[in-house]
């Protein structure tokens, strides 16, 4: 393990139609003291880097202090943003000399090569904000990476999107396997499992190796039924309340319209009360339980084993709401007891 991922806040300025953040949860901000305490222990345990996710990091009221703290503790860091207040607020913080030397990369979410597509998913002016942020990063020689969620809206322009990312200087461009949410299904934006399978193969055959940057597909391609998830090997995920959560995807994920988060097995430890060392031990115990369940009953060799994130979502009980959508092909694929045995905690 080498990366600590923090969610500084769950607040976001956007309501992206494909987002799986639980909007029923009250807004919260991660206390700086918690970050300091975690980093002081993480450094001694050999962690090297920090990743800041969200919510939207630009809405964290102590972002400058947070970045300076990370830099002063000797960690390199990456942050992911939707470009909100980037030129006037985030960029000047990143360009502070002691902070800049610790910036490993800045990630942007770009979901379309055209404004209509991207803004159709993320809201007005978002394309402009992302483009402006990426251009400024390139001009200031800050390394860039891109994340794009595959939807029915952008499936037809993935080539343009990949070429745009390469042209804007993104060193890596990750195409994200989408996670079902009620809004995603209701709006008809979620490709069917079969369409996703075809799309992933198409990306593999037509995009990977074609552009100058690295193209990846996230949330897919695990060999066999073993749980060899890269995130579990490399990352610890600390939510905005200071909890160690088993995986960033499981953290405060929507579980249906208007239902606030109630933690299940994904909560590993409250880092305000438990030492990081003890929390890591619990994390690995949990990983062992999950792997055992996957080996003993959870694997569907032709389906879910290729999408380990979906397998975990089901295992941790985050997909029960799909029963309200009996006509969705995802319900048959993920919930049907005959195709994959349930393994709730």
């Amino acid at each position: 393990m080498k990366i600590v991922a923090f969610e500084p806040t769950n607040q976001c300025n956007r309501s992206c139609r494909h987002c799986f953040r639980n909007k029923a949860d009250p807004i919260g901000f991660l206390p700086l003291e918690t970050v300091d305490a975690v980093l002081s222990q993480a450094g001694a345990l050999g962690f090297k880097a920090v990743c800041l996710t969200g919510g939207e990091v630009a809405l964290y009221p102590h972002l400058g202090d947070l970045l300076r703290l990370i830099a002063s503790r000797g960690f390199d860091f990456t942050l992911v943003t939707n470009g909100y207040r980037f030129p006037e607020y985030v960029l000047p913080l990143l360009l502070e000399p002691k902070v800049k030397e610790r910036v490993a990369s800045v990630g942007f979410s770009l979901d379309g090569a055209r404004a209509e597509t991207h803004d159709g998913l993320r809201g007005p002016k978002s394309f402009r904000e992302v483009f402006e942020g990426m251009t400024l990063c390139r001009n200031h020689r800050l390394p860039l990476f891109l994340k794009s969620v595959v939807t029915t809206l952008n499936r037809g322009e993935l080539t343009e999107l990949a070429l745009l990312g390469a042209r804007l200087g993104a060193v890596e461009h990750g195409f994200l396997y989408p996670f079902p949410t009620p809004t995603f299904i209701r709006d008809g934006l979620l490709p069917s499992p079969q369409e996703m399978q075809d799309t992933v193969r198409w990306i593999q055959d037509n995009l990977m190796g074609v552009t100058r940057n690295k193209i990846t597909v996230e949330g897919r391609f695990m060999d066999g039924v073993m749980l060899n998830c890269g995130h579990l090997v490399d990352h610890l995920n600390v939510d905005y309340q200071g909890n160690l959560i088993f995986c960033c995807t499981l953290s405060h994920m929507t579980v249906g319209d208007g239902i606030p988060t109630s933690f299940g097995g994904e909560l590993v430890a409250d880092l305000k009360e438990v030492s990081l060392k003890e929390a890591i031990v619990r994390q690995f115990r949990k990983a062992t339980e999950v792997m055992e369940a996957r080996l003993n009953g959870g694997g569907n060799p032709v389906g879910l084993s290729e999408t380990p994130c979906h397998w975990c979502l089901k295992y941790f009980g985050k997909l029960d709401w799909l029963k309200d959508f009996p006509d969705s092909p995802w319900t048959a694929w993920l919930i049907d007891e005959t195709s994959c045995k349930s393994n709730h905690l």
């Binding site: 607020y89 803004d119 007005p124 978002s126 483009f131 251009t135």
Partner: protein, 152 residues
Amino acid sequence: MPSYQLKDKCLFVDAFVYDEPNKEPKKKTKPDKPPTTGKIELAHVMDKNPTPAKYLMLNDAAAFIARFIVMGVDTKDIPEILKSEYGSQVTNPVADVNAVVAMLFPSYLETPRTSPRPYQAPKDEGKGTHSGIYDLDFRVNWFVTGGFKGPL
């Protein structure tokens, strides 16, 4: 389509004030008459090469487009950015971008180059004989402050 950059001693000044990050940026107002000294309130490009310096004030849309031009964004990408900002109000974004390029080029913008290297007519650089053995170069690059070491 090309990317542009400002000429030496030319600058672009935006019309918004971002001093208070939690508030909407304040829009500056148009002066009663073009200023010859002091602060120019509207967005503008200025060329400090001549004396007195010359400037061109821009309205909101032109300044928005100019901001991306001087950032070095490829002009073929700017129409999509324009559509993202203004939505259906924009009817012909390509023409609007071309209009702003025409306002700024060649007075304030460098001639765009597709390659950072100047093109030269092809010619050989001379023949010779060689032992075929190269010396290994163990010199160390000390000129970077902070003592960074790397082979030249």
